[in-house]
Symmetry: C2
Subunit: 690 residues, 2 copies
């Protein structure tokens, strides 16, 4: 229908997509964008009333693109646009692309309000923009009035208008709207806004909601259902603006602290599955209310929902019995992405809202891992990326553009502070940082919510009423790593009882030795058992990573991304000292916060990201670590600090590591240390056996 | 994928479709059918266990097709087919087309059990076969068991099996099945039967139901919701067999006898719409129970539902306020066909069952008229067909292959026995046939359920306890026509008071005269008012027909089809004497019973018929009779018996019509009669004005 572009026509470049093309003078910018497949929102269909199609002209000489872009290359504001500016206001530099036309070469910026930044992610890897192309589109139309000579129904005339003005053909309609049609059309005096859902993964395009007149807002939610916490973003589908982000604890905790105890609850209680499904859906509905209140939005304006979750949460949320996931072969009821009406599973938003769940990667690598994978995109780059989400079950993804492999490791709850004598969840009063003086063996620490270290003069005052209550996950990593660095524990994790002579902080505690981190109330002690628990957890994680590295045929990784709350707080250096993760340039180890939630938001705002992650997950190779024949050996090697056999050259540059003991090469290199350590180890082993 | 057919390959012709093609020796007949697009059912996927793919070889020399078909040209029964025959039995001559292979030229009959015959239609126009191609297909598959090395979910392995064995790609699944998947797959030991719904008018193909093991039956219902009666067929989707047909009265009658009074009820009562929707859905659900009991079927095995109804019933059934249909411009909320989940509107069948409503033609020409149009297919032929469904509102369709026009006429309830002094619904005891001796003016009649005429000796005995209770629609037509033929009423419908001298049956009755049809209890009289009511009703119908004929530019029609219960009972000859319908060869006037229901069944059994009627309705031109400028004149001319101006040459050959009065040509031709009649008319008019 469009004439072929002429080489003398102006060149228009759209940012951030970088798409470009030539268009005759007078072409509306909105039309140019559409022809190039650049998504620019528009609800009113070019009537200059919704204001959603705003763009900005970037002025300057863009030598790289051979474009000199100038404000003189866009038409001046016409009466419609001026009226909009007068009535609704238009920020400096912004133009309505439905009204502004091409008059010369242009670089056009399509503002994307969704920036993944500090608001969303605690420690952002980088500010990243999500280009929008949501599954929901609002379309304002003026419908022909009924006419006795052309007895088409109201719906059919609405469809005609949507086809004529927006190009939609053969639209389906959500059945609940059928009885409401007449009233809405008449209330709007035959002008209505239809919400259209179109997503290649779903059925044909559907009319899912309908309002009289111009409806100029639509929201979506992106939600990550964790075992402990449910996190949600409320996002404008029209601008990409994050209206609110919030979280709530998962009420299923009352049925069982960790995933496996919840599976057991289902197995032991006839109504267990139903009760847990109800609980999590109610919590999600409550959280929707919370983000709506915070974001000053109406839950009826939520038209699309994207969910990620670990496999057991995923199944329970969808009403599926998770029992199969608790036993080999860990069969998922469904691994692919699903498309529902939100109403199908009792999510209380607009009656016509859609719901999308990201695919699960494997029985223990869920849609949350898929979300993190979409967010961090190992498959989008050449570097070998290790992506780890540490929880009770660590989900591990390793790969690059060529190949991605994934696995899970049963790390257990030690990293979350459970099974540790003084452990607790990250909360005010919990110790989060620990340092031990290698000479005096004296510790200092910091607690959550307090800036000062414990050795600073007015620390106790600063801690105040909250007090020091326990040790959270990040501090457990640090204290064990510091104990190792200061020689309190050996490479094999044995607390050296001989040091009790040097410091009263090392003391005999039954058959083994312990380290006194803090005297007082509560008295916080690191026991041999605590060290062993951390060793087991980190060895499980490291063994999983190592097996994936072997699958990839690499002996190192280029970058490491820690996803999840735990990852946000741990210091990469200490994680590496502990041997939780393989050696890597420390500058390339980053926490990415709730990457699963970010992935959910990407899938919410751009349906292309849904296809992207569906395709990526389809290609990811899943490794069942327990089935690998030498898992046992790798696990045993990984029990040592940082590892019995693997080198940590990058770490050695940053930290003064104790000399290695068991490695035969090292034995000859540092002949003295080895015997001393061995004998100490033997003594410790005797003590433990004793 | 298939090699191109070789000219020396055997030729296979499938009946009744007539599709033909050449296939290599050894090709399974089922494969040959599929390659030609001939629909042959198969649930088990060629395992020779479901027995649904039966065919018959027609032996003989089919010179027209140049095929000599012989039982020797099909492979002998193999072990699988023999096992099936042994265990389940195979009728004489039947073969399983999945096992039997092409060995030479063949004429293959695909048995179609759905024959539209006396069981379905009281007076069948012809025995007609509905070729099956239903929207629901049952597919048996054996699914791979879960495997830790390939962590695809249960659903995803089911999808893979359905793709591999049946060619389904990217199947969606009904959300309610997701939680049930695991249990069904394990119960069936990884062998399951999936019901797939695929219909171009709906969304993408969906898995709508799932059973462990081989499921070898699926039903559908075709339902016509009339204002008075709801009629339903229960049909096997696998064989086309009509398992049961039944009806029930529409409980909405308690809200209003006719359509307009129901619309009024909605307008006057805030919960009126809801109450009527609930009532009709409950009645449909009750009727489903009834047909299931009669057909020995389980309502959970019903997977597809097709509904037709007049516009007001259609709207009320779907929960739409019908108020707009009660006033100009008579705007339908929706005119196109709709696709729902049956569950969406509370129809109690399988939870995954689908529901399809035929399109409505116009504000007063509903999905029932569309059903009748699909059944009779004026657009499929060259002859000009008039299709009339007489009810309170007559729906009229006129056309042929080139063009179809439609209209409705407000005939009122006279034809149904209402507004007539002795009128009643067709039921035992109602007079259904009337003859009047033109010499003696004595009547004789027959009542429903009794074979004898009233003048036969043991009539009273035969009538027995039921007695004679009133006059039903068909008899009202006949008695008025007979009164006209015997000269009791004039061409203008005036009862000739002078005849009271000849017979006591004509007697003064207030200001006008009446005719005594039956003395006794009850005393049945045809009053001047009754005659006028019939005249008004028939004139309305005829005027509508006439306007459509003018639109078509024809002065006669080639064939007439009466749809609906009323049409089944009236005698075409008397309808024509009355001038209810235009002149036509009497042999070409036929009653087709509940053609709407037949159309619904066609759409149920073959989704191609859905596209056919959607397309046909889209092309039908709708005429709003009341807006035509000369409707008034046509209506007035149609008040006369049979008509003031239109000739009835075919009728004149069959019936001795009284000479025409008012036509100027006739006046000169039969100068004597005209003045006499005119004077009689004037007298009658004086009396009426009196």
């Amino acid at each position: 229908m469009n004439p072929p572009p002429n080489i003398t026509d102006p060149l228009v470049l759209f940012m951030p997509s970088g798409k470009r093309g030539r268009f005759p003078i007078g072409t509306p910018i909105l039309d140019a964008a559409r022809q190039l497949g650049v998504y620019v929102e528009s609800v009113c269909g070019g009537r200059a009333t919704c204001g959603r199609c705003q763009i900005e002209v970037q002025e300057g000489n863009f030598a790289k693109h051979k474009i000199v872009s100038s404000l003189e290359h866009i038409s001046p504001k016409g009466p419609k646009e001026e009226r909009y500016e007068r009535v609704r206001g238009l920020p400096e530099g912004r133009r309505l692309s439905c009204s502004a036309t091409v008059q010369g070469d242009l670089v056009v910026d399509v503002p994307q309000d969704t920036v993944i930044n500090a608001q969303v992610v605690r420690k952002a890897a980088s500010d990243r923009v999500i280009e929008r192309n949501p599954a929901i589109q609002l379309c304002y139309v003026e419908v022909e009035e009924p006419d006795m000579h052309k007895p088409l129904g109201d719906l059919d005339r609405l469809r005609l208008a949507l086809e004529k003005e927006w190009g939609w053909k053969n639209l389906l309609i959500a059945p609940h709207l059928v009885p409401q049609l007449q009233g809405i059309l008449r209330k709007g005096n035959w002008a209505v806004t239809a919400a259209i859902h179109r997503d290649a993964g779903a059925s044909r395009p559907f009319i899912v909601a309908l309002w009289p007149g111009l409806k100029n807002e639509a929201y979506g939610i992106a939600c990550d259902i964790g075992s402990t916490t449910i996190a949600m973003h409320l996002v404008s589908l029209l601008s990409g603006r994050v209206a609110a982000s919030s979280g709530t604890s998962n009420p299923q905790i009352r049925f069982g602290e960790d995933l496996m105890s919840r599976v057991s609850y289902v197995m032991m209680n006839p109504d267990g599955r139903e009760a847990m499904t109800k609980a999590v859906r109610e919590a999600v509905n409550g959280l929707i209310g919370k983000v709506c209140e915070e974001g000053n939005a109406n839950r009826d304006d939520i038209l699309d929902c994207v969910f990620v979750a670990n496999p057991i949460m995923h199944h329970l949320f969808l009403g599926i019995d998770p029992t199969e996931l608790g036993q080999a072969p860990f069969a998922l009821a469904v691994s692919s992405a699903l498309q529902y009406w939100a109403h199908d599973i009792d999510i209380e938003v607009n009656r016509g809202a859609r719901l999308y769940t990201l695919p699960c990667i494997a029985g223990h690598v869920g849609a949350d891992a898929a979300g993190a994978t979409l967010s961090e995109g190992p498959y989008r780059q050449d570097k070998m990326m290790l992506l780890v989400d540490v929880g009770t079950n660590a989900e591990i993804v390793l790969g690059n553009r060529n190949r991605v492999v994934a696995a899970s490791s049963p790390t257990g709850p030690a990293f979350e502070g459970a099974e540790i004598s003084g452990g607790q969840r990250a909360a005010p009063g919990a110790i989060e940082r620990v340092r031990i003086d290698p000479e005096t063996l004296e510790p200092k620490f910091r607690v959550i919510g307090v800036d000062k270290w414990s050795d600073e003069p007015d620390f106790e005052e600063a801690v105040g009423a909250v007090g020091v209550t326990g040790i959270c996950g990040s501090a457990i990593i640090e204290v064990v790593a510091e104990m190792y660095l200061s020689g309190i524990i050996s490479e094999d994790g044995v607390i050296d009882g001989e040091l009790s002579a040097r410091s009263p902080r090392i003391f005999q505690d039954g058959r083994t030795y312990s380290y006194l981190l803090r005297d007082g109330e509560p008295r916080l002690v690191i026991t041999q058992r605590d060290v062993r628990a951390i060793q087991l957890a980190k060895a499980a994680l490291y063994a999983g990573v190592k097996l994936l590295m072997e699958k990839q045929g690499v002996d190192h990784v280029d970058m490491i991304r820690f996803a999840g709350a735990f990852g946000s707080f741990i210091d990469p250096k200490y994680a590496m000292v502990l041997g939780l993760i393989p050696d890597c340039d420390l500058a390339e180890v980053k926490a990415v916060g709730n990457a699963s939630g970010t992935g959910a938001m990407m899938a919410l705002l751009n349906r292309d990201h849904r296809r992207e992650i569906e395709d990526a997950v389809h290609r990811i190779e899943k490794i069942e670590t327990a089935l690998e024949p030498h898992f046992q050996q790798i696990f045993i090697d990984a029990m040592a600090l940082p590892n019995k056999v693997d080198p940590f050259p990058n770490l050695a540059l940053a930290v003064n590591l104790p000399p290695r003991q068991a490695n035969s090469e090292e034995k000859t290199a540092s002949g003295e240390a080895a015997p001393r350590r061995r004998s100490r180890e033997e003594r410790a082993a005797r003590r433990e056996r004793g």
